[in-house]
């Protein structure tokens, strides 16, 4: 189980990364932490003649904060984000990070790599989608921003153009009175979620002024549950969360794999949403 041969490029500036991607086109793949890419290559499910290793681009490993958002560079390791004070101001991100694999994986895996990889069962794409994060893409034409809601197209497919890299993600900071919950079920500790829900609420007394609910493992992308969010905002903090869960699950069309059927995923979804919301409301009230 050895990967195919490739040429390794280790640029030190973002423009060099972009230039290499332009030069090699489809033959090139960006290598960030490698925790998803390298197994795929070892199993020879994919071969890439050129890997553009972005670990030596200092600009991509920075975390910066403004009052309203935290910008996480693509190459920030997940474990470093877990310990970062600015990331702590985005509690949903901070809560989601420990759910990724195991600590040895998070020491290498990156925030940007996980989002660009766009696995529908992984946590960070769902965080981006739930919080309406902005994806910073850098390409030959410079920098542009893509709304998370526009970013995830299908399993392992994103709105990044050929020759573009995900250079950073901007996560909005929610205000006071907010709470967040991450709930997922997996076959084993550290496995990809069979089904997961990431939720956030902002309370003003019993009024829900803001809500987000995103599910993972239930489709080809993370799924934002807009109807359920609306129902929660309408119903307030004492709404019947089972009902909110049912509303969230109703439109889902999950896929099946060796671990769970589509019917199972759909059946358990309401409870997972309920649990995530219960945690979020509890935190918001405290």
């Amino acid at each position: 189980m050895k990967p195919s041969q490739f040429q390794h490029h280790a640029p030190e500036r973002v423009d060099e990364v972009v230039a290499l991607l332009a030069e090699y086109g489809d033959d090139a793949k960006v290598l960030a932490g490698g925790q998803s890419l390298i197994p795929i290559m070892a199993l020879r499910m994919a071969t890439y003649p050129h890997l553009v290793d972005i670990a030596r681009v200092p600009d991509l490993s920075k975390i910066s904060a403004t009052p309203n958002a935290v910008r996480v560079g693509a190459m920030v390791r997940q474990s470093h984000a877990e310990r970062d004070a600015a990331v702590a101001t985005v509690p949903l991100l901070a809560k989601a990070l420990p759910h990724i694999g195991h600590f040895q994986i998070r020491n290498r895996g990156t925030v940007g790599g996980s989002i660009a990889h766009a696995d529908p069962a992984s946590e960070l794409p769902a965080v981006a989608l739930a919080l309406d994060a902005r994806i910073e893409a850098t390409g030959p034409g410079g920098v542009r921003f893509i709304d998370a809601s526009e970013f995830f197209l299908s399993t392992w497919q994103t709105a990044l153009d050929d020759g573009e890299i995900l250079s950073a993600v901007e996560f909005p900071v929610w205000g006071a009175g907010s709470g967040f919950g991450v709930e997922e079920i997996a076959r084993r500790k550290g496995d990809f979620a069979l089904v997961g829900a990431l939720a956030g609420v902002t309370l003003d007394g019993d009024r829900v002024t803001r809500a987000c609910i995103t599910m993972i493992g239930v489709g080809s992308t993370p799924v934002r549950c807009h109807e359920a969010e609306a129902a929660l905002i309408a119903g307030g903090a004492n709404a019947d969360l089972n009902e909110i869960g049912r509303i969230a699950a109703a439109p889902l069309t999950p896929t099946h794999d060796v671990h769970a059927s589509a019917a199972y995923r759909k059946h358990v979804s309401p409870a997972i949403v309920r649990r995530a919301l219960t945690a979020a409301l509890k935190e918001a009230r405290s």
Partner: protein
């Protein structure tokens, strides 16, 4: 295309320089180029944890790192956990608690446990269960491993 790349590493405190294919994973380079066969490969796709080493002090699966990515890094393998030829507190605890049988997963267990306890001095039993869940063992049913983690944590704490 098949050009080899020069990679400089510090391994268990020694400066090393190897010429490797870019596709060479760190585990293979440690084993084949440097003769440090204590790092084992049991899945080569990042699940079992047998190949865990410290990269700049942090535990990582050395089957999920190309050696070229580790350029300039400081690597600690299981051979370097107790450099004086004795046993570290983790290794002693593993022996005391029968935390190993066939020994194949053991290097990864030792390295992961060492890394975790170095940064988490007061773990609960639940913390230890979670921390060790990234290393598969087929012999022990994990009972001795978790007991060893407890003992090592308590002793490292008592002596610090």
């Amino acid at each position: 295309m098949n050009d080899r790349t020069r990679v400089r590493l510090t391994v268990n405190g020694h400066a090393e320089q190897v010429e490797v294919e870019p596709r060479a994973i760190l585990a293979d380079v440690l084993r084949d180029n440097l003769g440090l066969t204590g790092t084992h490969l049991a899945c080569e796709h990042g699940v079992c944890g047998a190949c865990t080493v410290l990269i700049d002090g942090e535990a990582a699966r050395s089957c999920l790192v190309f050696a070229v990515q580790a350029e300039g890094a400081s690597i600690t393998t299981v051979e370097g956990i107790a450099p004086d030829g004795g046993l570290s507190p983790v290794q002693e605890a593993m022996r005391d608690c029968h935390g190993l049988q066939c020994g194949f997963c053991t290097p990864g267990i030792v390295v992961s446990m060492t890394a975790y306890l170095n940064t988490h001095p007061n773990p609960s039993d639940a913390d230890l269960k979670e921390a060790m869940s990234g290393n598969l063992c087929r012999c022990t049913g994990y009972q001795g491993i978790l007991a060893a983690a407890r003992q090592a944590a308590d002793r490292m704490n008592a002596s610090s």
